[in-house]
Amino acid sequence: MAKKKEIAFEEGIGQIEQIVRELEQKEVPLEEALKLFRQGIEMVQHCNHLLDHAEKQMEILLEGPDGELEVRPADFTVEG
């Protein structure tokens, strides 16, 4: 599970696409089909999770005179 957390949305989508293609296009032995399905469902949940829990961060990245990075929350809003 700890490993799955690191899978980016794009990669997750890619894995689901791969699984869907396999299930759609060829005859897969039952046990393997169920395994693929379970993996796919887990990845769908993971991707949904990523979409739901993306916490918006707005930052301004500055640099101090000593070359130190300084991060500030951006406070300006954009109309529209």
């Binding site: 699984i19 089909a33 979409l51 916490e55 930052e59």
Partner: protein, 413 residues
């Protein structure tokens, strides 16, 4: 040195005019500086010659002038209409027009001055970086389809940041971004833009960079035509989308960037997918996954049904019934055989009885034969066994006779 001495010491070479112009020609073409040179000056006596389409003019400044020709194939590429009095910058080669012996400029490129100087710098930098391979398609990094965090390099007060954030908010309201502020015009701009790109690379955890500013004059966009910015983009580990000015202005930064967007808004559109589409795509994949597994299971079920419909599995008692039927068949056949066998035996018995009957002496008597016995009861088989006057008994089929022998013959033929 007196005039007389000169005459004595040097025999002067006498040139023909053709030899002289050829020599001038050769000398000019030996000088690399003159084969391709940039010259600034003012246009005069401009004439677009018809029907050839060649341009003829004189380039001059306060103290001198030189004739210039621009052939049609080159002139067609010039983006402005030349006018007398216009300050220009041109590139060309110096050659002799041998018929007149005139030294002329043969012009390859023509730019209005002012812009001309920038244009020159632009062209030179472009050639240098191109030769280094900085624009090669193989160098371009792919732009991630779904970035988690976007880095932006532009002025915090300019139009570009407003445009980018507006598009971004519309497409994915939750997307995170980091702005590295930089002046995008003026003397400090090249350094600040380059540093901001490097800073975002150091900060990390950023999937794509948008580097740019809104539209402006060539001078205003100039930071994006500098080597400093070009190299910062080329050195970026994060893929860069350039977004400089409006569509017609192609800058060096655009050429080095991994992807060129015509405007900052377009850059945001290229970088950020529409959140709703991501959601829809995921839902679509999810339902395909469900359908896929159902189809797999349905196919297997069909296969099982097909097998079940074929005989043995349909009725588990089938084999027993089959065996029973076979047994029935065999036993009734056996019965038939037995019956036939038995009745055949009856036939044989009848036949044998008949044969036996035929052999019985009684049966022989039945056909008219008779047996003759002596008085002692012995069967008489030859006339010699009886004498004339003897009494013999003759056994017939039915009953018997007692007879007297009257005569006898020894042997019958």
């Amino acid at each position: 040195m007196g005039y007389d001495e000169l005459e004595v010491k040097f025999v002067p070479r006498i040139w023909t005019v053709a030899e002289l112009t050829t020599e001038i020609s050769r000398t000019l073409s030996d000088n690399d500086e003159l084969v391709s040179c940039w010259v600034s000056g003012e246009l005069s006596n401009y004439k677009n010659h018809r029907p050839s389409g060649h341009w003829y003019f004189t380039l001059k400044d306060q103290s001198s002038s030189i004739k210039a020709v621009m052939f049609r194939s080159r002139a067609e590429r010039v983006r402005f209409i030349p006018q007398d009095g216009m300050k220009v910058l041109l590139r060309g080669s110096v050659k002799v027009y041998e018929r007149d012996g005139n030294v002329q400029l043969y012009v390859d490129e023509l730019q209005p001055s002012g812009l001309g100087a920038l244009y020159l710098a632009f062209e030179q930098l472009k050639q240098r970086l191109s030769a280094e391979g900085l624009f090669d398609p193989e160098r371009k990094k792919p732009i991630p389809r779904i970035p988690r965090r976007v880095g932006i390099v532009t002025s915090p007060t300019g139009a570009a940041i407003r445009d980018i954030l507006k598009v971004m908010g519309r497409r994915d309201p939750n997307l995170s971004w980091v702005l590295a502020p930089a002046a995008v015009q003026g003397e400090l701009a090249p350094r600040e833009v380059a540093q901001a790109i490097a800073r975002l690379n150091r900060y990390g955890n950023i999937d794509v960079l948008i580097v740019g500013r809104g539209g402006g004059s060539l001078e205003e966009l100039w930071a994006f035509n500098t080597e400093e910015v070009a190299r910062a983009i080329a050195d970026s580990n994060i893929p860069v989308i350039s977004a400089v000015g409006h569509e017609t202005d192609v800058t060096i930064a655009d050429m080095v960037a991994d992807l060129r967007a015509p405007t900052p808004s377009a850059a945001a559109e290229l970088a950020i997918p529409v959140f709703q589409e991501l959601r829809l795509n995921l839902e679509n994949l999810n339902s395909r996954l469900q359908v896929g597994i159902q189809a797999q299971i349905a196919r297997k079920r069909e296969k099982i049904n097909g097998l079940a419909a074929s005989g043995p599995l349909l009725n588990p008692l089938w084999r027993i019934e089959q065996n029973r039927q076979r047994l029935d068949n065999v036993s009734s056949a056996l019965q038939q055989e037995m019956t036939r066998f038995v009745s055949d035996k009856n036939g044989i018995l009848k036949l044998l009885a008949t044969k036996l009957d035929l052999l019985s002496p009684l049966a022989i008597l039945g056909r008219g034969y008779s047996l003759t016995y002596s008085s002692e009861g012995k069967i008489i088989r030859s006339s010699t066994e009886a004498n004339t006057g003897d009494h013999v008994k003759v056994r017939l089929h039915e009953g018997s006779l007692t007879c007297q022998v009257l005569t006898k013959e020894e042997r019958e033929g």
